[in-house]
């Protein structure tokens, strides 16, 4: 199908940071942060026009440094956080800051994309998440479905919960926790759980996954040796509150029930190198996206451990047509856990994959060479899930 052909967008710079604009629910919009040591880094705002199958981009300058992580506010679509490398003299430090996009970017970009690259507008700094006391920031997490007032930053072995005040122009640490232990512990990534009134956080350091209660700022569970090697990414099942997916350098994707952490619920080993990113579809949690440094993106259908293990229930009464009924019956065969598709459009390591916030059937993946690929869930599967 022509519509299923991937749409490819190339950035001039290498890039690792990708996020969907969470607060935007109408347009399909992704934010990409570039990594360049020598040039001014940029944030590319990628708008995907679903009807014309076209991409519109806007570029904002991010002159603070190369971007390692990016996150969009869930409340204000103009607000975002980045983690960036700041090189001063002989010291490289990863800092985090909250930014606001200039209000004009939207109008300017649509007229002529070329102009925008020539004369890009600059992000407006709202505040720094001051981390001089805590070291490099691995990532900044927005409170899921929150009002855009709370963020968590993971810096070395600290969990810092910030309150953003005065239109995000001021950030204060409301509480923090520190991971103590032998050796130099360092958080690699984390995820704020959308369940339990957003009071739980999962973090990864080395091969362990830890759960935190944000009210008491204490650890609630710890999956030691969740992966054979470094854990690279985590994601919460949006519909099942205790389910968690993780991926790591052992090429595996594992699914955990945090109530029974001794064994993973399921384990996949489809990639041939480190898995850098794992994402549940926001609406249909059987759809799972993984990106790996083997340059592949894999879309899997994990029906058996999803919130709809028997498929979507449809009222048969609505369908009066016999023929349609028969087709329906065919489609009703329980779906097996399977790989839906392997996307091989990338030629370098894929470090980030992300579902669109607006269209649940659309996702983007970003490889190191700056190639952003937008793909869709195959239609056959989409209809099977919907019908």
């Amino acid at each position: 199908m022509e519509d299923d052909a991937p749409v490819i967008y190339g950035l001039e710079f290498q890039a690792r940071a990708l996020t969907a604009q969470t607060a935007e629910t109408d347009a399909i919009r992704f934010l990409v942060g570039t990594q360049s040591l020598k040039f001014d880094n940029q944030i590319h705002i990628i708008d995907f026009d679903d009807e014309n199958n076209m991409i519109n981009k806007s570029v904002l300058l991010h002159d603070a440094g190369e971007i390692w992580h990016i996150g969009g506010s869930p409340a204000d679509k103009a607000v975002l956080t980045t983690c960036y490398n700041k090189t001063s003299e002989s010291r490289v430090l990863t800092c985090a800051a909250v930014w606001r996009m200039p209000p004009e970017w939207e109008s300017g970009s649509h007229e002529s994309p070329d102009d925008s690259s020539n004369n890009p507008q600059t992000l407006e700094l709202l505040c720094h998440l001051d981390n001089t006391a805590h070291g490099s920031v691995a990532c900044v997490l927005w409170e899921p479905m929150g009002d855009g007032k709370r963020v968590i930053s993971l810096a070395e072995n600290h969990v810092l919960l910030w309150d953003l005040q005065e239109s995000s122009s001021k950030a204060t640490i409301s509480s923090s926790a520190t991971l103590e232990g032998k050796g130099q512990l360092k958080f690699t990534t984390g995820k704020w759980s959308p369940h339990h009134n957003s009071t739980q956080l999962a973090t990864a350091n080395d091969t362990a996954i830890r759960g935190w209660d944000l009210r008491s700022m204490s650890q609630i569970y710890c999956i030691e040796n969740a992966h054979g090697q470094l854990v690279r990414d985590l994601d919460f099942n949006p519909n099942k509150q205790y389910y968690l997916a993780s991926c790591g350098d052992d090429c595996k994707v594992k699914f955990w029930d945090v109530r029974h952490i001794s064994e993973p619920v399921k384990s996949l080993e489809e990639h041939s190198h480190w898995v850098w990113s794992v994402r549940y579809n926001h609406s249909h949690d059987q759809l799972l996206l993984t990106g790996s440094s083997d340059s592949r993106v894999i879309l899997s259908n994990m029906v058996s451990i999803s919130s709809e293990p028997f498929g979507h229930l449809v009222d048969d009464d609505d369908l009066s047509d016999n023929e349609e009924n028969q087709q329906e019956d065919k489609g009703k065969e329980p779906l097996q856990d399977s790989i839906i598709a392997t996307y091989e459009e990338h030629e370098d390591s894929v470090y980030a994959v992300e579902w669109s916030a607006a269209d649940p059937w659309l996702f983007a993946s970003l490889s190191y060479d700056g190639r952003l690929v937008i793909n869709r869930v195959p239609r056959a599967l989409k209809y099977r899930i919907l019908l």
Partner: protein, 827 residues
């Protein structure tokens, strides 16, 4: 009459004719009438009855000449004369005979007359005798009657005397304990006493007898109750009591309960032994454990059979023997005597009406069943204790004896379920045995692997100590030299040990189906035991177990960071591969031949097992690649992550970690080379090292390109590497490897270098940081190409690393190629 004496005219036919005529006259007709009639019809036949002389004469006169007539006439005259003389002779002879007959008759007449007189005289005499006799018997009549009466009285008196003496006699018998005599005496008198009991004197006797017999019965019962009496005594007792009209049912019960008490004693003896043996057995086992592998030639016999040790209690054969000799034989005896007493004895009188045999038979069955059940439970407990799998023959012999002895019961008691239950026990024991063997094999396999593990872990220098204590039988058997066992040696010894163990197990199990074992011809042992039990349950399960446990090594080790030594993975992989190629089919053929397996039920085909083994081998090898790759990757990762690449000093040496990587890769190469073939690699050009240079120099160009980045062309590096990628195939980092050395090494190196690349991309480099990476990569390039199937792969990955480092460099000014070479060659 001979022809010589006959005159010439009277030829034989002539004489015959004469005879015939005589015979005819006397009605003796020998010849057929037809011929006679044919002869007689001719009137010219001179001898025929219808002879007409006129016709004859006319005929002659018409037919014959004168001379002939003359001759005929003379012949006729001659014949007539001879006939006349014949007639005369006959008449004369007969006359003489008449005369003598007349004389004889006359003589007889005289004799009879004399005899008649004598007979008259005799009859007169007889009359006289009869008369006398009648007279005598008349006189003797009275006396005779008297004598008869007297003799009757005498008998009666004797009977009475018997009766009167009966109490005394019974008493005496009682004293002498001649119970049988007493009972028979009483039996004889009983009816009479019963009949005349209305007479006071008889009544007295009867009462006396009753009292005595009561006493006697009491004594008999007492004796019956006493445990000490033998079975024979007992049966006698029962017989007597039965004759004394004791109720048969009660007797049955008593008899059985008595027998039961004795049999229970036997059973308790067995049970006590059972308890003893458990205690001593565990003791024996613990003793055994202290000296494992003391006998390297046959580790099974010493390490797996605690029952052979002298400290152990009675072995199972003894136990079963005792059970057979004591319990089963006395049970048989009881059954036999019981049957004799209650069932098969001829029924007489009122006993017949009570239908004793049926009742007794029922009781017997219940009795036998309950006792046998207890016996069986004991035997089963004993069999279950038989955990040691070293010597199966003992168990088989014990089971055989057990089974054989039960056949006796089946003969004695045709309807009993006991023998079939016994067979079931045997079958269960066999099944259990197979399970035990399987688990023993599994344990053995694990132990062997542990030995291998220890042998692998054993430090190379203290070899003697390792093989003596830790390595045990495996290592000891593998090498007698001072050198540590090498991988191939370990492999062959491991697979030999497993194979031998399997063979010995098969041989042991084979005992169950030996011809001289009674139960071997049961359908279970002919069919299911062989196919489902041995082939599927033992051999196939074991092979599957090997594959499965091998696979488990892959899974568990991966998560816990390589707890399995990689060499073991390699070894197991080779083992599984060997199994796939030859061992499995060999083992299964061996099994099928030994057990003549007839596949009534579907069995696992060889191909399925082979596929499983191959899968396991592949998985193990993949895992080996992963583990080894991981070890090297970790080294590289740590080395990249922990260094401050921005503030590093100018490189003077290749970093030690790179040397380590090359060393490790070389040792892996050696290790894999021991077990796997070389494999195909893309042909090297003769000057491979030179070519590395040329390829590397292209990457150097790329690096040189780096400083010439202009702000307007930031994509140039990307372009270069992208073009490169266009022409090289996509690299699967963790891809399945083939079963050869080059493929394995390629996999490991790919993983390591990819890790290096990813780590470099996460860091930021200063000028000297980049240069250090350049040096390191060049060093790797110098040494790693020789291990892989396609050297371009190494070149490509190293170029990527250097390119990425250049890209992540704050001050990308690369080192001169010549300087790099000097540093690398310096080491």
């Amino acid at each position: 009459m001979s022809s010589a004496t006959t005159p010439p005219d009277s030829d034989p036919t002539q004489r015959r004719r004469v005879h015939n005529m005589l015979k005819l006259y006397y009605g003796l007709n020998e010849e057929g009438k037809a011929t006679e009639q044919a002869e007689s019809l001719d009137p010219c036949d001179i001898n025929g009855p219808h002879f007409d002389p006129e016709i004859y004469l006319n005929k002659l006169r018409k037919e014959c000449s004168l001379a002939e007539l003359m001759d005929h006439e003379s012949c006729m005259v001659k014949q007539i004369r001879s006939l006349d003389s014949d007639m005369q002779t006959l008449v004369y002879e007969n006359y003489n005979k008449f005369i003598s007959a007349t004389d004889t008759i006359r003589k007889m007449k005289n004799d009879f007359k004399k005899m008649e007189d004598e007979m008259d005289c005799l009859s007169a005499n007889m009359t006289a005798i009869t008369e006398f006799s009648a007279r005598i018997s008349g006189t003797l009549q009275d006396q005779h009657a008297q004598i008869t009466k007297l003799s009757g009285v005498h008998t009666l008196l004797r009977k009475l005397q018997f009766l009167f003496e009966l109490p005394a006699r019974l008493n005496k018998c009682l004293e002498l304990q001649a119970y049988a005599q007493a009972v028979s005496a009483h039996r004889r008198a009983r009816c009479v006493l019963q009949q005349y009991s209305h007479m006071p004197s008889f009544r007295g006797i009867q009462d006396d007898c009753h009292v005595i017999m009561e006493q006697l019965a009491q004594q008999l019962r007492q004796k019956f109750r006493d445990g000490g009496s033998s079975a024979k005594d007992l049966s006698e007792c029962v017989e007597l009591l039965l004759q004394l009209d004791e109720p048969a049912e009660e007797l049955c019960d008593k008899f059985l309960s008595h027998a039961q008490s004795r049999l229970e004693a036997d059973l308790q003896g067995l049970e006590a032994e059972l308890k003893d043996s458990t205690v001593t057995d565990t003791g024996g086992a613990s003793v055994q454990k202290t000296s494992p592998g003391s006998n390297p030639v046959s580790p099974s016999s010493s390490a797996f059979n605690p029952f052979l040790s002298p400290t152990a209690g009675t072995d199972i054969l003894e136990f079963i023997d005792r059970g057979c000799n004591e319990f089963v034989s006395s049970l048989c005896l009881v059954i036999a005597s019981y049957q004799e007493l209650f069932i098969s004895r001829p029924q007489e009188g009122e006993l017949a009406s009570k239908n004793i045999p049926e009742m007794a038979n029922g009781k017997l069955h219940v009795f036998v069943d309950t006792l046998a059940a207890r016996y069986f439970s004991l035997v089963e407990r004993r069999i279950q204790e038989e955990k040691g799998v070293g010597d199966n023959s003992l168990l088989v012999r014990a089971l055989d004896r057990f089974h054989r002895r039960l056949q006796a019961i089946s003969k004695l008691l045709p309807g009993s379920a006991v023998p079939s239950q016994g067979t079931e026990i045997v079958v269960r024991a066999a099944r259990e045995r197979i399970k035990q063997y399987l688990s023993a094999l599994q344990t053995f396999y694990h132990d062997s692997l542990t030995d291998v593990r220890q042998a692998l872990a054993a430090p190379r220098l203290s070899v003697g100590g390792a093989s003596a204590s830790g390595g045990g039988a495996l290592v000891g058997g593998a090498t007698n030299k001072d050198a540590p066992p090498s991988l191939p040696e370990l492999l062959t010894s491991l697979s030999n040990f497993i194979l031998n163990q399997l063979k010995s197990v098969l041989a042991s199990v084979h005992l169950f189906t030996a011809k001289d074992i009674t139960f071997s011809n049961k359908p279970y042992f002919k069919g299911e035991f062989c196919s489902q039990g041995v082939r599927e349950g033992l051999v196939v399960s074991f092979i599957k177990f090997i594959c499965q446990s091998s696979r488990q090594y892959c899974e568990s080790a991966g998560d816990r960071g390589g707890s399995t030594p990689p060499a073991l993975l390699l070894l197991l992989s080779r083992l599984c591969l060997d199994y796939e190629t030859s061992t499995i089919s060999y083992i299964l053929t061996l099994t099928d031949e030994q057990f003549l397996v007839q596949h009534h039920t579907p069995v696992t085909p060889v191909t399925a097992l082979c596929a499983e083994a191959r899968e396991a081998a592949q998985k193990l090898l993949n895992h080996y690649v992963k583990v080894q790759g991981l070890i090297i990757s970790q080294m590289l990762r740590k080395s990249v992550e922990t260094r401050d690449w921005v503030n590093t000093i100018e490189p003077r040496n290749v970093r030690a970690v790179m040397k380590r990587v090359v060393e490790d890769t070389t040792s892996i190469d050696v290790q894999v080379g021991l077990l796997y073939e070389e494999g195909v690699r893309k042909a090297h050009s003769s000057d491979s090292s030179k070519r590395t240079f040329s390829v590397y120099s292209s990457s150097r160009q790329q690096i040189r390109y780096a400083p010439s980045y202009t702000p307007s062309a930031p994509m140039d590096t990307n372009l270069l590497s992208n073009i490169h990628k266009l022409f090289s195939e996509r690299i699967d980092i963790f891809s399945p490897v083939e079963f050869n050395k080059v493929s394995v090494l390629t996999g490991i190196i790919k993983i390591s270098l990819k890790t290096f690349l990813e780590c470099v991309r996460l860091r930021t480099f200063g000028r000297y940081g980049l240069q250090q990476i350049q040096v390191d990569c060049h060093y790797l390039q110098m040494y790693l190409w020789r291990f892989v199937s396609d050297e371009n792969l190494v070149h490509f990955l190293l170029d990527e690393i250097v390119g990425s480092a250049a890209h992540r460099c704050l001050d990308p000014s690369p080192m001169e190629q010549s300087v790099i070479e000097v540093i690398c060659e310096r080491g």
